[in-house]
């Protein structure tokens, strides 16, 4: 059950890191090829399944977080407040999470209402962030979810977004690249 030296080196680096670290940066620090790092990361990910920790990633960025099962103990230790989000904000968040990157106009087209306030609320809770602008009239801002979003929902990556059955009987999948 021992970990490979690369996996252990990566584990130590991710432990001291104060923000997510990219696969390429890990490769440089550990002195291995990105391919070796990738293997070591999946090895670590598998090991973590049996621990109180999880390996979380967004694209090529990796970070160690606590396992969602232990949330109440960690919250008790940190004195963290339970996050509350209104149903209107949850709808906006659902559109952004499954459709990112997405503009406010696109969110509003789907929800059929003005989403200014809910987008602001989600921004100030750091659940969503700006992801750049579209080269179109008015250069509208595109939004995407953050690391905090993954953490707050106990997801290790966007692939973990819940699959739901849509009204037309399809299984809904996240569409990270939009349509």
């Amino acid at each position: 059950m021992g970990r490979s030296p690369s996996a252990m080196a990566i584990e130590a680096v991710l432990f001291v890191a104060e923000k997510p670290v990219s696969r390429n940066e890990l490769a440089k620090i550990v002195g291995a090829t990105p391919r070796v790092i990738e293997v070591a990361l999946s090895e670590l990910e598998a090991h973590y399944e049996e621990t109180g920790l999880r390996l979380q990633h967004e694209g090529e960025q990796w970070q160690i977080v606590t396992a969602p099962e232990n949330a109440r103990y960690v919250a008790a230790y940190l004195g963290a407040d339970r996050l509350r989000v209104s149903s209107a904000s949850l709808e906006t968040l659902a559109v952004i999470a499954y459709r990112q990157p997405v503009t406010r106009a696109e969110v509003e087209a789907i929800r059929g209402v003005n989403c200014d306030q809910t987008i602001y609320t989600l921004m100030s809770r750091r659940l969503i962030e700006e992801r750049g602008r579209i080269e179109a009239p008015g250069r509208p801002i595109q939004y995407g979810t953050t690391w905090e979003f993954l953490e707050c929902f106990g997801l290790t990556s966007l692939d973990g977004l819940p699959r739901v059955i849509t009204p037309d009987g399809q299984v809904s999948l996240p569409e990270p690249e939009g349509e």
């Binding site: 001291v16 989000v85 149903s87 059929g112 106990g154 739901v164 849509t166 009204p167």
Partner: protein
């Protein structure tokens, strides 16, 4: 209709409905209609009736509700008179199929939002490490003051919106333990205190509560005695001396 438009109730969202699509979907679900096959135009009359039944429509959103209602009416008209000429050529963009797709998309969003809401309520979240204390801590180097300024600009822009929306700032937090120690130290110096003195001039609610709980704890541990002469009157806090052990009493005498 004029009645509706005349309403200027300062509501941010309508009670129970987050928007025109939400209202329509609610109707479909209530009536157990299959959204995949229903002729949307057939819903026009009832949709209008539902809008009329709402006491107060928020002014900025009235247009959105009415736009959907008129879309449904137009679909109805078209089903009765297929030869009807377009009122505005551009307006023909959204066919019944388009609208249906939009409703299904919205329904999907609602199911997804509900799933996310369940996850949030379950409270199974992850936490990262801020990575404060590594074993060999040196002050970091290479900070980019531009990045610092950008972070400040971001905070400012969010804070400006917060002020606009009149969001109340959180108060300073106190721990009961800390407050208990403070009061215990005061009581050691001064035999008698009043609750008013402990609160100071402008106590926050949180501070008052923590102070009160701290007092109860000291009372429970027989450190202080409490007395209140009149209902809602000043509470007097006295150092408790009666429970002194013989050894402590002897020490006191020396």
């Amino acid at each position: 209709m004029s009645l509706l438009l005349g309403s200027s109730a300062p509501l941010v969202t309508m009670p129970g409905f987050d928007g025109p699509l939400d209202l329509l979907l609610e109707m479909v679900e209530e009536k157990r209609i299959d959204i995949l096959t229903v002729r949307l135009g057939d819903l026009a009359v009832e949709y209008l009736a539902r809008i009329r039944a709402l006491d107060a429509l928020p002014a900025p959103e009235v247009a959105e509700f009415l736009a959907l209602a008129s879309r449904l009416v137009l679909l109805k008209a078209r089903s009765l008179l297929p030869s009807l000429a377009p009122l505005i050529p551009d307006d023909e963009g959204e066919t019944e199929a388009d609208l249906r797709a939009r409703i299904i998309e919205y329904a999907t969003t609602r199911v997804r939002a509900a799933a996310l809401g369940d996850m949030l309520r379950a409270g199974s979240r992850a936490f990262h490490r801020e990575a404060g204390a590594a074993a060999h801590e040196l002050p970091p180097r290479g900070g980019d003051s531009g990045a610092l300024a950008a972070a400040w600009a971001k905070v400012l822009s969010l804070a400006a919106r917060q002020r606009e929306n009149g969001i109340v700032a959180p108060g300073e937090r106190y721990s009961v333990e800390q407050r208990t120690k403070e009061i215990e130290a005061l009581v050691a110096l001064q035999e008698e205190l009043s609750f008013g003195m402990l609160l100071g001039d402008v106590p926050t609610v949180g501070f008052a509560i923590v102070t009160f709980i701290a007092l109860l704890d000291l009372y429970r541990r027989l450190v202080v005695e409490l007395s209140q002469d009149t209902l809602f009157g000043e509470i007097t806090i006295m150092r408790k001396t009666t429970r002194m052990t013989p050894v402590a009493a002897a020490a006191e005498e020396n």
